[in-house]
């Protein structure tokens, strides 16, 4: 039983492991609507994990029943298998267990470690920073133009004195609005699974690709939210100027440049996007993208829960 379901899930898993992320990473529409693209990436990640673990489970539990819930119930209540249990059933069951444990475990571990590092950094920074002219921003005495925020229950938004010195008030407001957007929309939570799964699955190129794409999209989204709150006559240009100033000075004065390969090209894309804004996605395209994301989650769920074909 269940062979068609297991095969369908395996095909879906294979599609989500490589071609689908590759296509979405190369597509040009995400920069027209980063939020919708972020939803699509979350759906790809979730559906990918669900379908690969589901395919293994469905195959492994095949001797126990005609649908996954039925088979799982039989196993839990100690019913004997209806068909002979072969070695490959045990292998796939073990693989499903290992993979599920690894994905969930790495996610939890990554979350704990990140939260701990954030708390430590915040505690140390709070000893050194001083109030800044903008509300809820803090000033760190350093010549390099740097701005960042540490998310969490007690977020910390830090501007370096170099940043304050090199930007005018409107540009500084744009920087703060961008960082506030990260905090308000909890962008670190969008990133968390992709950071964790890149670490868990270094052999899967899609994991790294997804991480880079989500990182860039989150920055674009924060730019968009910031633009909506900026009063000046040309907010796009103001924000682009702030980005260029920060990019120009970040390498100097002994400040780590961070992950060059990741952020380098993303900064250029952001500036281009601000100077020459792409037309927003039409409503039908947004709806289609969101519908696809919904279906992507619905299909493996349905395959797992409905009786086997």
């Amino acid at each position: 039983m269940l062979p068609a379901t297991a095969a369908a899930l395996a095909v879906l898993a294979a599609l989500l492991a490589w071609p689908v992320p590759a296509l979405l990473a190369r597509a040009r529409w995400p920069r027209r609507d980063p939020l919708v693209a972020l939803v699509c990436w979350q759906a790809i990640g979730l559906a990918g994990g669900l379908s690969i673990i589901g395919a293994l489970l469905v195959h492994g539990l095949a001797p126990w029943g005609h649908s996954l819930p039925e088979a799982a119930w039989s196993v839990l209540t100690g019913h004997p298998a209806e068909a002979p249990v072969r070695g490959d059933h045990w292998v796939t069951l073990t693989l499903a267990g290992v993979l599920a444990t690894e994905l969930v475990g790495v996610l939890l571990l990554s979350w704990l470690r990140t939260a701990r590092t954030r708390r430590r950094h915040r505690e140390l920074l709070e000893l050194v920073v001083q109030p800044a002219s903008l509300p809820d921003a803090r000033l760190l005495e350093h010549p390099a133009p740097v701005a960042f925020c540490i998310p969490g229950a007690r977020p910390l938004l830090v501007l370096s004195s170099g940043m304050v010195a090199e930007l005018d008030d409107a540009q500084l407001a744009a920087v703060v609005a961008h960082e506030r957007a990260h905090l308000r929309e909890h962008h670190h939570l969008y990133l968390l699974p992709f950071v964790a799964w890149e670490a868990a699955l270094p052999v899967l190129p899609a994991a790294a690709r997804a991480h880079v794409a989500v990182r860039t999209l989150v920055e674009m989204r924060a730019d968009d939210v910031a633009l909506a709150s900026l009063p000046g006559p040309a907010p796009r240009r103001t924000l682009a100027q702030a980005i260029v100033v920060a990019a120009g000075g970040a390498g100097g004065a002994g400040v780590p440049s961070g992950a060059l390969a990741v952020t380098g090209s993303a900064v250029g894309v952001r500036v281009v996007r601000l100077i020459e804004p792409p037309s927003p996605l039409p409503t039908w395209a947004r709806a289609a993208a969101l519908l696809s994301a919904g279906l992507l989650l619905l299909v493996p769920t349905a395959l797992l829960l409905l009786p086997a074909l």
Binding site: S110, R113, T114, T117, R118, H121, E123, L124, L125, E126, L127, V128, L140, E141, H142, A144, V146, A147, F148, I150, P151, H178, E179, H182, L183, H187, H188, L191, L192, V195, R215, P233, A234, R237, A240, Q241, I243, V244, A246, A247, G248, A250, G251, G254, V255, P256, S257, G258, A259, L260, V262, T263, G264, S265, A266, V267, G268, V271, I275, E276
Partner: protein, 121 residues
């Protein structure tokens, strides 16, 4: 009651603005408005020592001073917080990450080519 974090900040501010090393009792007197017990001051100081912000000498009573200036610590922290781990693991969200000098120049040219300030586009 103020949190330990608040007290740590207050003590560091004192030490940074002091002329020389201070004894715990002097710190307590300096922070008289907070009504701290001497043990509390010692607790705060030992936490700050653990964090690498404060060092003490071997005089009796021991006297404490900041290990570096506020700027020294800021530079050190900048390095630690913005290091590879922070960026890659999404510990923080940085406004603009590292860009190599070539790309930075390219971006400046791009912005300049886009027209003068406040030009409607």
């Amino acid at each position: 009651m103020a949190s330990l974090g608040d007290l740590e900040r207050a003590v560091m501010d004192r030490l940074w603005s002091a002329e020389g090393p201070l004894a715990a009792a002097e710190l307590r007197d300096g922070l008289a408005d907070r009504g701290l017990a001497l043990t509390t001051v010692h607790t705060v100081l030992s936490r700050l020592e653990q964090k690498g912000f404060v060092v003490h000498d071997d005089a009796r009573p021991r006297r404490f001073r900041a290990r570096g200036t506020r700027e020294d610590h800021a530079a050190e922290l900048m390095h630690e917080v913005l290091g590879q781990a922070g960026d890659r693991q999404a510990v923080l969200a940085r406004f603009v990450g590292g860009v190599d000098p070539d790309e930075a120049r390219l971006l400046r040219e791009l912005l300049a080519a886009a027209g003068p300030d406040d030009a409607p586009r």
